[in-house]
């Protein structure tokens, strides 16, 4: 009796499990398809891409495509700019937002309520609202178009990091910081040597998300750094899309160079990635 009921239970489970996989597996394949095609295209000669046959397996033309791309635009140089900008931006943004988050989480001060209210009250405003004044300010008033500063500094306003770090710091037990205070440790040293080390997982999540945002950023760099030598990699690649005499194999090779490193990072640091997104650290 008991063995029969347990076997009927396990066969019901098996049925449900099969149904689950039968539904999810095709969906997963569809979801992977564009990425797969990106890789396939990047390994095909342009003749192959524009031929009537269906090609679903990789060829060997990736390096030729890279050199085609380099002929169409200085993509390697643009990658260099993108990497430097993303690294600098991530470092600065993590520093600024964690300092601000620390202040908001751990101190009582005049005007705190106002600062928090302004940040929260404006957070859902669309970025489009500030685009034009930012552009006028940076390009016309500060005359910083086509510089690194223009790429790095304005996006530092992002307040989601502040809220994320504020949340992280306020979840830590306050006694830890009081203990250091009683021992006469200066506030900035408490921040540096107690708070930041404890926030390492959160800092990692924030850094990954910010790096990704900067790496993939398109609209702002498109507007402010449109001169050939100053373009980031996505902007450089974007200029080729829609032109007639370009190598599509090259464009796909560029797309792969933009995407695959991020995929590798994603696989290696999935936990931090997911934590960062789950906390709403980017839009």
């Amino acid at each position: 009796m008991s063995s029969r009921s347990s076997s009927s239970r396990s066969s019901a489970r098996l049925g449900r499990s099969i149904a689950l996989h039968l539904f999810l597996a095709p969906l997963a394949l569809i979801w992977l398809f564009p990425l797969w095609m990106m890789v396939i295209f990047s390994t095909m000669p342009d003749r192959g891409i524009f031929s009537p046959s269906i090609e679903l397996l990789p060829h060997g033309n990736f390096l030729d495509n890279v050199s085609n791309l380099q002929r169409d635009t200085n993509f390697i140089g643009a990658i260099g700019i993108s990497v430097s900008v993303a690294v600098t931006y991530t470092f600065l943004s993590v520093l600024l937002t964690s300092m601000a988050g620390w202040a908001l989480a751990r101190y009582q001060f005049f005007g705190k309520g106002v600062v928090v209210a302004i940040i929260l009250g404006t957070i859902t405003l669309p970025y489009a609202v500030v685009l034009i004044p930012q552009f006028i300010m940076v390009a016309r008033d500060f005359k910083l178009a086509n510089t690194w500063v223009a790429l790095i500094v304005p996006p530092l306003f992002n307040s989601l990091g502040v809220l994320f770090m504020r949340q992280s710091f306020s979840m830590m037990p306050g006694d830890l910081f009081d203990a250091a205070r009683v021992e006469g440790v200066k506030e900035w040293r408490i921040f540096l040597f107690v708070a930041l080390p404890l926030a390492r997982p959160m800092l990692a999540a924030l850094a990954i998300i910010l790096f990704l945002a900067s790496w993939n950023n398109y609209l702002w760099p498109l507007l402010i750094n449109s001169k050939p030598g100053a373009m980031t990699a996505p902007v450089a690649l974007g200029t080729l899309i829609g032109l007639t005499k370009v190598s599509w194999g090259g464009i796909m090779a560029g797309a792969v160079m933009l995407t695959v490193p991020m995929l590798v990072v994603f696989v290696l640091l999935q936990r931090h990635f997911v934590a960062g997104i789950a906390a709403g650290a980017i839009k």
Binding site: P173, D175, L176, D178, A179, A180, R181, V182, E183, G184, V185, K186, R189, F193, V194, P197, L198
Partner: protein, 360 residues
């Protein structure tokens, strides 16, 4: 070493006053315990002494020096937190030395102090471990060690034992007592546990709702509480309170118990007796009930439940709406709602007026 003086200390959070003008004198080298139910303001008071909370009014002096505007680090105090507040990313050794290192204390001196603390607390073999690799009791020792390393004039303890299990709590209590004797410095200790207060303190400060109810040596609080709150808070199990009415005041007062069939007790007073007809409360500790006929007033109660602790037994009894806890000699007798008679002695009972003030 230093005395700690609190004069009319007030704490407000917005419009809420949490502490209403506390006056406390802690003598040099004394062990004082602040005790009271949660939310009574005891931890706030301690944090104000530490300098972690602003003082809304009044004065706090440590070692004769006014410290209202002195930074926590410069008050000559060290604090042990309820959560231990060990830095999880540092080893025990780094935890102990962190404050000194951050303030540029000479390396040799830091090492000496850390070594001494480790010896006092017998944690020398744990120095390389991280807090999460330690047991609760070991963490507690490290937290205390971090206070010792500062060589403070005053130790502050904020409910340090409340995260430990019962057995460890007893062990650490003894340990802290020993530490006080060895170091001889002033210690202020906050707890909600009256047993801890009774066993550790030279003097106890009983707090309730931001007011100091009484300050005194443990046994003075037990024998001679100032009011019904202190009488009920000190002692375990709690004192029994019985409703009564004054029926005679000819030199001594005679009260009639409301729920015990007109039983009367005559009790001599040193002060003016209350008026006839006044409602009062008679307090009797569980351990102060006697065999019927041995005291001044016999009462009959219904024994509902008995708890046998081995050394003694507690009988949970009732008489009408009133519930009483009565301590008896150890027995195996079960309570099945049978009646029992006990006796009250006038000298082993306390009288309170309706507001809770003691009638002496």
């Amino acid at each position: 070493m230093a005395a700690v003086t609190l004069k009319k200390v007030v704490k407000r959070f917005g419009v809420f006053e949490i502490v209403h003008g506390a006056n406390i004198d802690v003598n040099d080298g004394e062990f004082v315990v602040f005790v009271g139910p949660s939310g009574c303001g005891k931890s706030t008071l301690l944090r104000m002494i530490a300098g972690l909370e602003d003082i809304s009014g009044g004065e706090i002096a440590i070692g004769g020096k006014l410290v209202n505007d002195v930074e926590p680090a410069d008050r000559g105090i060290a604090m042990v937190f309820q959560s231990y507040a060990l830095y999880p990313h540092m080893s025990v050794e780094q935890n102990l030395s962190f404050g000194l290192r951050m303030n540029g204390n000479p390396k040799a001196d830091t090492e000496r102090r850390v070594k001494r603390a480790a010896e006092i607390l017998r944690i020398a073999e744990l120095m390389k471990r991280r807090p999460r690799q330690l047991s609760g009791g070991q963490r507690q020792r490290v937290a205390i060690g971090r206070a010792i390393v500062r060589e403070p004039q005053v130790f502050l303890f904020d409910e340090p034992l409340s995260n430990l299990d019962a057995e460890l709590r007893v062990q650490m209590r003894v340990e802290i007592s020993r530490l006080h004797k060895e170091l001889g410095v002033t210690m202020i200790y906050v707890t909600h546990d009256q047993t801890e207060a009774m066993t550790l303190a030279d003097r106890i400060v009983v707090l309730n709702a931001g007011n100091i109810e009484q300050i005194g040596a443990p046994l003075d609080l037990y024998d001679d509480p100032a009011n019904r709150f202190v009488a009920g808070f000190v002692g375990s199990p709690k004192m029994n309170f019985m409703a009564a009415k004054v029926v005679g005041n000819d030199g001594a007062v005679t009260v009639e118990l409301a729920n015990h069939g007109g039983a009367r007790l005559r009790k001599p007073l040193s002060g003016a007796p209350p008026a006839v007809g006044a409602e009062v409360v008679l307090g009797v500790r569980p351990e102060h009930f006697f065999e019927a006929g041995e005291g001044d007033c016999d009462i009959a109660v219904k024994a509902d439940v008995a708890e046998h602790l081995g050394s003694v037994s507690y009988v949970y009894a009732s008489a009408g709406p009133e519930e009483l806890i009565i301590e008896r000699e150890a027995s195996r007798q079960r309570a099945n709602g049978d009646h029992m008679a006990v006796s009250i002695k006038a000298v082993r009972s306390l009288l309170f007026d309706k507001s809770g003030a003691r009638i002496r």
